[in-house]
């Protein structure tokens, strides 16, 4: 391999690709060629750096200069100034990396990264995911070599059990036990499957691993195959993730070429290969039995458990099924030992968790923290707080199966059991932050709309029950709620929770239950006072012009899309409530802040 004195790492995650990372790579290569630097500077497209809000992101090594929000026009300057003349382009550096004395700080000292511990994401943003050699350089496939040549199958399972690793897909079931059950099952054929059908809105950690470090998944699945006695693996991945699918395909091909997949791996007689199956847009397929039915080529409807997949899974054979993030921890556990992994995190939740932090927060992106880190640390220290000086209202975890955590509980440590205890759940790791402008009834309705649409229809509690709940929420947000509605919601929710067939249905009422628990006053305001405290629900909203503030500048009249505002120049203006569609344009346009929601 060529030696390059300098490396330009360009984030090639979906976020940065969307903001033009591919073109940036191209221009970099052209500019380097122009200055004759192409033999000494290497441009590498990596996985996600995590700080998606500042994309496109570029890091130049060995200096470790972190350039953010890079535009195409900036590239020639970086090449000429930094790479040719050795002068770091300070105006493009991520502001946090410039210390008060104007020196440049290492990335590890920046708030966003300081509190993070990267185990699952350790290679994301460091290696070129399309180059297997770089993965191998950072101890890739060493764990597979170790289990195949030094460990018995029982020892591997025991190591995973002792590490305390629990499933990162939402349920939190101990991974080692799952492997043990599959190992125990009798069968001529067994399978290893990976759930990469990351359907929770707002969660994209699995995508980032697939895009940034696909070999970690391949290696872990092979280890799982050896442990449980399977020689075939399936990765079920969303068709909505084209970059992830492509990188995984490349990685599988490279692994086959190197003999790390296929027959007689490391000459130990162990055979293993992996096939990719694309999802087709059905949220319920994230549920394990539904995913299995879908790989089999059917409508992805769940089936009752038991029998569990460990006994009767894919094509009726014993199958071990884990999600991407769970697998990505496995090689590290094998290499560093169960005790190392178990030393991270809390008593019952070991290791780290990756969160996709989004919504009303400054540093949107991907963060990996030890279990037990508090929500406050994630939101304020890593996430940089709430933009525009607004007040934090709630954080939503667990997607459509989870709940909202209010400000009073912001010091809750994030682990499986603490989150369940306060009525939310870990889920796959979406963490959406909401501020004072978000109406909690509306958020509950948003999630219920999602479940109603995604309910597969097999069992009535979910199919009919969630629909009835949604109808009640519709009424409430339209100002037609009745006093009994809140009770009805609660009773429906409890019934669905206990009677639905699968995890999707059983957890569907959680967003409603948790918002009722912590934001009951908002429901009551909608029902009793016909008022939306956050000013979100349009039917309950009036936009009015304040008599004192209005100077009669007529700006609002000009911008109103429905001509609902009238008034003479220099006279007080009035909004016709019959015509007003509550779009809020006038509020933004009024220079005197005289138009308000009421």
């Amino acid at each position: 391999m060529e030696f390059y004195r300098s490396h330009v790492l360009v984030c090639g995650g979906t976020g940065c690709t969307s903001s033009g990372a591919n073109k940036i790579v191209k221009v970099f290569e052209e500019e380097l060629l122009k200055h004759g630097l192409n033999k000494e500077v290497q441009v590498v497209k990596t996985g996600c750096f995590g700080l998606c809000a500042l994309g496109p992101i570029i890091i130049v090594y060995p200096e470790g200069s972190f350039y953010s929000l890079v535009q195409l026009e900036d590239v020639p300057e970086i090449v000429e100034e930094h790479l040719l003349k050795g002068r770091i382009v300070k105006r493009l550096l991520y502001a946090e990396t410039i210390a008060e004395d104007n020196t440049i700080r290492s990335l590890n000292e920046v708030d966003f990264y300081k509190k993070q511990l990267r185990i699952v994401l350790r290679n994301c943003g460091v290696i070129d995911p399309e180059n297997i050699d770089e993965y191998i350089a950072l101890d890739g496939y060493k764990a597979l070599g170790k289990v195949l040549t030094e460990m018995t199958r029982e020892e591997v399972i025991d190591e995973i059990k002792r590490s305390g690793l629990r499933g990162r897909g939402g349920g939190g079931f101990p991974t080692g036990l799952k492997w043990q059950f599959t190992y125990n099952s009798q069968g001529d054929q067994k399978y290893v499957a990976c759930n990469a059908d990351e359907g929770d809105p707002g969660a994209f950690m699995d995508r980032s691993v697939l895009e940034g470090d696909p070999h970690a998944l391949i290696e872990a699945m092979a280890i799982g195959g050896y442990a449980v006695g399977a020689n075939k693996g399936f990765v079920y991945v969303r068709a909505e993730y084209p970059i992830a699918v492509k990188r995984l395909e490349i990685a599988i091909d490279q692994a086959r070429e190197y003999g790390l997949l296929g027959e007689n791996i490391f000459e130990t007689g162990f055979d293993f290969d992996i096939e990719i199956r694309l999802g087709a847009g059905a949220f319920v397929c994230g549920e394990e039995t539904a995913l299995i039915t879908s790989i089999e080529g059917n409508r992805g409807e769940p089936r009752p458990r038991p029998p569990f997949p460990a006994v009767k899974g894919l094509f009726g054979k014993p199958t071990v099924l884990n999600n991407v993030e769970t697998y990505a921890s496995i090689p590290q556990i094998i290499l560093n030992g169960a005790d190392w992994f178990a030393s991270i995190g809390t008593e019952k939740s070991k290791g780290t968790k990756v969160f996709a932090v989004g919504g009303k927060i400054n540093n949107t992106g991907l963060v990996e923290v030890p279990m037990g880190t508090t929500l406050r640390e994630v939101i304020y220290e890593i996430g940089g707080g709430i933009p525009d000086g607004k007040k934090f209202k709630a954080a939503q975890t667990g997607g459509p199966s989870g709940g909202c955590i209010p400000n009073e509980l912001i010091d809750t440590p994030i682990d499986f059991d603490s989150l369940t205890a306060i009525g939310s759940m870990m889920g796959s790791g979406g963490l959406i932050v909401m501020d004072e402008d978000n109406c909690m009834v509306d958020i509950a309705k948003f999630f219920l709309e999602f479940t109603v649409e995604e309910s597969c229809g097999k069992c009535p509690p979910c199919r009919i029950g969630t629909k009835r709940m949604l109808e009640i929420l519709d009424r409430i947000t339209e100002g037609k709620g009745e006093a009994k509605d809140i009770q009805k919601l609660e009773s429906l929710a409890e019934t669905i929770k206990s009677a639905a067939l699968c995890g999707l249905g059983q957890t569907a009422p959680n967003p409603v239950l948790s918002t009722l628990r912590y934001f009951r006053h908002e429901y009551e305001a909608h029902v009793n006072e016909k008022r939306c405290p956050a000013g979100t629900c349009k039917s309950l909203l009036q936009i009015v012009i304040d008599e004192v503030g209005c100077r009669g500048c007529t700006l609002c009249t000009k911008h109103c899309p429905v001509n609902a505002i009238s008034g003479e120049r220099k006279q007080m203006h009035i909004i016709d409530q019959e015509k007003c569609i509550k779009c809020g344009v006038c509020i933004d346009k009024c220079p005197f802040k005289a138009i308000v929601k009421r």
Binding site: F3, G64, L84, G86, E134, I136, L138, T149, Y258, F266
Partner: protein
Amino acid sequence: MKSLADLQAIREKTINQVNLRKDQEGYRIVVGMATCGIAAGARPVMMALVEEVQKRNLKDVAITQTGCIGVCRLEPIVEIYEPGGNKVTYVKMTPEKAVKVVIDHVANGTVVVEYTIGYHEEHNK
């Protein structure tokens, strides 16, 4: 690939490359590459450094550039930061001198005194 040894071979071949992408612990070689440095011939010096480091498969060595160091008359200038934080400045460098510095200083820890700024200033008064 057949064996663990094959895997190890790939790892060693690639590790230097990837190691560059973390905070450096070993030697850091800094070349002055402002307009004056380039005019004085800093680029061939840089290339010689890169080639020699690669040839000798030296671990944990970063080659980087900086702007004008301020003594343009002594360009090309190469500064070597040792792992302990000690800095040695070499002046009036050539590709040949650069090779010697890599071999003697970076690989074997012996400063090439006659190329250093102190020696130069002492003998050119």
